[in-house]
């Protein structure tokens, strides 16, 4: 690793950008400037500054208040759902394990207001149940079919955009607003190299700011698959899904998509 001597310290202009990135983030123009100046030394230095900022943050957070109980339950359900859908026990860099998608929850008659909470609880129970009791969970395609049979579910056809990577792609989205579960089905979506790009789903919720759709999860398309079914992993509750879009992003996905490569769209109504 780097020495702490000045010979390895970035120059002042670069250092100012790195400090700003660590403390408040960069504007797009500053980010472009940093991209031009960036180097292995700068990246390493950035991580060290991030670590220093995190240490100061910890030092200044001597009193931590526990999160609300309902939030803790949602966090736990989200985590178990995530681990179940990614088959995390042997995850490595695999983002989506097509053989171990989320289980489809049993129908519930709850009003929408409690649906996210109930869905989370259902995911928790089913995810744990799946780990302990079900050595051969239903395939994603079977679970999609089960979800599609539910009266609350919606099915939207996907249409390819003019992006060259989307040529000939078709498919659909099945989404159940009550349980907040869903599946994407693709035919013809090209295999991706996860080290270069990954696909990311975005869900446009009519009740949220349209500039910031809900992240529906990052996924990969394997080779030699004529049809692929991907479980949806919405980061946040989706109250009124009005559209679904898949973009091509850097590995790991992004917080806000630049929408440079929108490949497929599915719109409600």
């Amino acid at each position: 690793m780097s020495q702490t001597g000045p010979q390895n310290q970035p120059d002042e202009a670069l250092l100012d950008l790195l400090v700003k990135q660590v403390t408040e983030g960069l504007s797009p123009a500053e980010q472009r400037e940093l991209d031009v100046l960036d180097s292995a030394t700068a990246s390493s230095y950035l991580r060290e500054l991030e670590r220093a900022a995190a240490a100061i943050t910890l030092a200044g957070t001597a009193r931590a208040e526990p999160p609300p109980a309902a939030l803790s339950k949602r966090l736990e359900a989200q985590a178990l759902d995530f681990l179940a859908t990614t088959g995390r026990s042997d995850a490595g860099n695999k983002v989506v394990d097509l053989n171990r998608p989320a289980k489809v929850a049993a129908p519930r008659a709850a009003a929408w207001q409690g649906a996210g909470w109930l869905a989370a609880a259902a995911c928790l129970i089913l995810a744990v149940f799946g780990w302990v009791r079900s050595p051969q969970p239903a395939s994603a395609a079977e679970q999609r079919a089960a979800l599609l049979a539910r009266s609350e579910s919606m099915k939207l056809d996907m249409s390819a955009t003019k992006d060259p990577a989307a040529a000939g792609v078709s498919g659909d989205v099945v989404w159940d607003p009550l349980t907040q579960q869903g599946f994407l089905r693709f035919v013809g979506l090209p295999q991706n190299d996860p080290k270069v790009h990954q696909y990311q789903l975005w869900i446009f919720d009519a009740t949220r700011d349209q500039r910031y759709p809900v992240d529906g999860g990052v996924f990969d398309i394997p080779g030699n698959a004529s049809e692929v079914v991907i479980p949806i992993r919405a980061r946040l509750p989706v109250r009124t899904a009005k559209a679904f879009a898949v973009t091509l992003e850097k590995p790991g996905g992004v917080v806000v998509s630049a929408r440079e490569h929108i490949l497929v769209l599915a719109q409600a109504g």
Binding site: M1, L15, A55, I56, T57, G60, A62, P66, P67
Partner: protein, 184 residues
């Protein structure tokens, strides 16, 4: 076999998930409240951060730092991303949110991490105004321009204090643990 909660999560240990939320939920929630605009935003941010933690758990290497600093790094990144993409309103400034800004006492805080202790020792060597700039920027989420306006201090001075303060802490941490660089 390592007992790191993050490494256990990476192996798919459901019990470790609960342990992680129990151990670090308060930290993440406190940071999210401090650096979010509304309580609802703070809840969304906390979920975002934990999802990132589950995704990143496999990259945690305990030889490169503690679970706690790894989680704080992820939390800070996510919160800064969220602040940047939101409108230009400042984060919550309620007394509630800022109550959680409390400096650790290295000798008397049994749960303080080694990295936080190192930071406290470095901060003790800074002038009060330098330390104030770091507190406003890192703990209260103010931008350098906002700090400049609030303290009536030239922007260049704010930048310089921030830069020197961070480098001081970074150097302390590298002196205590040469060769360490946490990959997140």
């Amino acid at each position: 076999m390592s007992s790191s909660v993050l490494q256990r999560i990476a192996r798919g240990d459901a019990a470790a998930v609960r342990e992680c939320i129990e151990q670090y939920g308060g930290l993440v929630w406190s940071l999210a409240r401090r650096l979010s605009r509304t309580p609802a935003d703070a809840e969304d941010a906390t979920q975002d951060i934990f999802l990132d933690i589950w995704r990143s758990a496999g990259r945690f290497d305990e030889s490169q730092g503690s679970d706690k600093v790894f989680i704080a790094m992820i939390a800070r990144r996510r919160l800064i991303d969220r602040l940047r993409k939101a409108t230009a309103e400042p984060p919550m400034d309620s007394a509630d949110a800022l109550e959680s800004v409390a400096w650790a006492d290295p000798g008397n805080s049994p749960e303080i991490s080694i990295e936080a202790e190192q930071a406290m020792r470095a901060l003790a060597e800074l002038r009060p105004e330098q330390r104030q700039v770091l507190e406003l920027g890192l703990l209260q989420g103010l931008s350098q321009s906002e700090i400049s306006a609030r303290l009536g201090m030239p922007l260049g001075t704010v930048k310089s204090f921030m830069r020197r303060g961070l480098i001081k802490v970074r150097d302390f941490m590298n002196i205590d643990a040469p060769g360490i660089s946490a990959e997140v």
